[in-house]
């Protein structure tokens, strides 16, 4: 009896001590405020009364025009039924002008846009984006029946896309997230068919390519790491490196001048999962990093923007051009910052 009590007490003390030790070892992360310079919200993006919100994936053209997806209903959550999916543009060279919605012609269905990729050929700019149809069931057999997140166009109508999760039901998906199983993948669509080119990824989220098209960068959100691949001409990928970022990496943008990666992320894991599960009302922190990469290997990471959620909720993508940084979020505003030390 006494022995049981003693063991119990020791176990309790041991667990309590271990817990304190874990807390001491940085398990309770604090997110500080940091802006690279003066920052403000871009007008016209976040107007919740009208169902306008979010700027999930942002990309910018060399002339300063940024295109982004807005009004994403990630996981087709009924709580976000009122949200309007839009494709929008913002001119970095006229930052005082509000962002404007782009009018879609020749496509009558309501869009639910997610990852985007811009592709310029013969002076024409093509915008490819992932669309999560709200009412229809996916019917295209040649695309793997998982859940697409982002894409990057390699050649006209040929692109890489990431599959984030397998299970469709929202509750089961939450379990899937916490299982940390490596069941995400990257598919390559060659213009006719899709095929898996990288497997066993822990939640493949953002994807992009080096300016010389030699390397493909994938954000493995479930492992908080960025994995790089060397790309062959036929689209095959072979892994080069995996680097732990310590923050849940979302979309990746590539600065065409330096090849640097601009990565937006969710620095406190449990907070972004809560935000996804309960999208209305909750707050998640933001963290934007500039990542230096050389021959497919990450050499340095620099913190550019950090917020505990009071100014920017759940940063999902970031672009840099001419000393300006644009930070997009899945359900909140689009943030425009000047970077004084970039």
């Amino acid at each position: 009896m006494l022995k049981a009590f003693g063991v119990g007490l020791l176990c309790t003390l041991g667990i309590w001590y271990f817990n304190e030790l874990i807390k001491f070892l940085d398990i309770n992360k604090v997110v500080y405020s940091q802006q690279p310079g003066p920052c403000r919200a871009v007008e016209g993006v976040y107007v919740p009364e009208q169902g306008y919100q979010g700027s999930e994936d942002v990309e910018v053209l060399p002339n300063g025009i940024a295109i982004f997806s807005s009004g994403l209903n990630y996981m087709r959550n009924p709580a976000l039924k009122h949200v309007q999916g839009r494709m929008m543009m913002f001119d970095l060279s006229n930052p005082d002008e509000p962002a404007k919605a782009l009018r879609l012609t020749g496509f009558t269905r309501k869009i639910n846009p997610h990852g985007i990729s811009l592709f310029t050929v013969d002076g024409a700019v093509y915008v490819y984006f992932i669309h999560h149809a709200m009412d229809e069931v996916d019917s295209d057999e040649s695309v793997e029946k998982f859940r697409l997140n982002d894409l990057v166009v390699a050649q006209e109508d040929q692109f890489y896309a990431t599959n984030d999760y397998v299970l469709r039901h929202r509750f089961l998906r939450t379990l899937e997230y916490f299982s940390f199983l490596p069941i995400g993948n990257v598919v390559y669509y060659d213009g006719h068919k899709g095929r898996k080119v990288a497997e066993s990824l822990r939640r493949a989220n953002g994807i992009n390519m080096s300016p010389d098209k030699k390397y493909v960068y994938v954000a493995e959100a479930g492992a908080k790491r960025i994995t790089t691949f060397r790309r062959s001409a036929n689209g095959d990928l072979s892994k080069v490196s995996s680097t732990f970022m310590g923050t849940l990496v979302d979309n990746i943008n590539v600065d065409p001048e330096t090849g640097n990666l601009w990565v937006a992320s969710h620095p406190i894991g449990y907070k972004i999962y809560l935000k996804v599960a309960f999208p209305v009302g909750s707050v998640a922190p933001s963290l934007v990093l500039r990542v230096n990469v050389s021959e497919g290997v990450i050499t340095e990471t620099t913190q550019i923007y950090s917020d505990d959620g009071r100014n920017l909720i759940g940063s999902g993508s970031a672009v840099f051009q001419n000393g300006k940084v644009l930070i997009g979020t899945p359900t909140h505003i689009l943030m425009y910052c000047e970077c004084l030390t970039c």
Binding site: P36, L289, T302, T341
Partner: protein, 366 residues
């Protein structure tokens, strides 16, 4: 046969749970990655290679620092008090000559006190070495003769309540608050005190010029200490809980708790910007790395970080990270002192950095 099958499945379950638990911990930000962060161009301060654990700056830009805290006596390097001029940052830090002091110098936390046109330097001294001995720690008082690069020894303060001292803040003539990093007297008990860091055993002592009284007890580690510019509020870093606390000084022995803030990092010394009243602190952002360095491998590097905390009337506002490095450039930062548009970052036993604050967003409200 049945036993082995049960054992096997038990093993699988335990391993599975353990693996999941470890993954969950990893996911819950146990593994903190330090990303580089600089507020502007930074340069190493010449003349500092043995650390600059604490530093304090005068309104005219002249600063004094404690160096060589972790120097082992056999190494030949000497602990010293040095001066640095913010208006000539490319000039190396210079040794200050001690006059009238015959004892052993191993300086730690320091505090400046100006009165009647004179500047006095009060500094924690470990004559028997850091964490050695059984209570020989003392506070030394020097008159800083800035034109002669000399510190003229005035007196030494000792008290039974002075155990293992860390930092102090002077609030009046020979009146100061000093922190006890460890309260146990014997080295063995001190080891135990370190292992049982989860217990609130540390304290703050108020010395009134003659004797010391424990004024704040039951603290989770008492490391950096400082006061608001008007000396109405006292700030304490309870490093073992990574939290900053503030007290209103109703009277020297009556400290009323006002606010506390979890900084999420092992912050060391606290400096108060005389203009804004903000608290700037040098921190160790990855717990296991600084502990590993101090307990097992003193030659290892540890990451560095500088945090600035807004505070008004003892109430804490927001916090911002001003500097961060994974230890490859600057190792084990302990203190950060701003002066005009520059910042001095001191370390435990490495170099010191002088940075220009060009990236500091003036509009950022804390």
């Amino acid at each position: 046969m049945g036993f082995f099958i049960r054992l096997f499945f038990c093993g699988i379950i335990v391993s599975g749970l353990g693996l999941w638990f470890m993954r969950a911990l990893e996911f819950s930000d146990l593994y903190n990655v330090v990303h580089k962060n600089v507020p502007g161009p930074c340069k190493f301060v010449q003349g500092i290679d043995l650390g600059a654990e604490d530093i304090s700056v005068l309104p005219n830009g002249l600063a004094i620092m404690s160096t060589g805290l972790m120097v082992p006596t056999e190494s030949g390097g000497k602990p010293a008090l040095k001066s640095f001029d913010f208006s000539k940052p490319e000039q190396p830090a210079r040794d200050l000559t001690l006059s009238g002091f015959k004892g052993d110098l191993m300086p730690h936390g320091l505090s400046l006190y100006s009165t009647n046109g004179k500047t006095f330097v009060y500094v924690v001294n470990h004559p028997a070495g850091l964490l050695n001995g059984t209570g020989e720690d003392e506070v030394l008082k020097f008159l800083w003769q800035t034109d002669k690069q000399t510190l003229m020894f005035q007196k030494s303060f000792k008290d039974p309540e002075f155990r293992s001292l860390n930092d102090l803040v002077v609030v009046g003539d020979d009146k100061f608050y000093v922190t006890n990093w460890f309260t146990m007297k014997s080295p063995i008990m001190r080891q135990l005190e370190a292992i049982l860091f989860v217990l609130p055993l540390q304290n703050v002592v108020y010395f009134d010029g003659k004797a010391g009284t424990v004024v704040l007890s039951g603290k989770y580690g008492a490391n950096g200490i400082n006061a608001s510019p008007d000396k109405k509020y006292l700030y304490l870093m309870e490093v073992n809980k990574k939290r900053l606390t503030s007290y209103r000084i109703e009277s020297p022995l009556n400290l009323v708790p006002v606010d506390e803030k979890n900084l999420g990092s092992l912050c060391d010394n606290l400096d108060v910007d005389p203009e804004s009243g903000d608290i700037w602190t040098g921190c160790h952002p990855v717990g296991f790395r600084i502990m590993g360095k101090m307990m097992f491998n003193p030659k290892a590097s540890a990451p560095s970080q500088v945090i600035r905390v807004g505070v008004k009337n003892g109430k804490f506002g927001g916090s911002t990270e001003v500097f961060a490095d994974d230890g490859s450039v600057l190792s084990a930062s302990t203190v950060a002192v701003p002066y005009k548009d520059a910042l001095f970052i001191g370390t435990l036993d490495h170099k010191a950095l002088h940075c220009k604050l060009t990236g500091l967003n003036p509009v950022l409200k804390l």
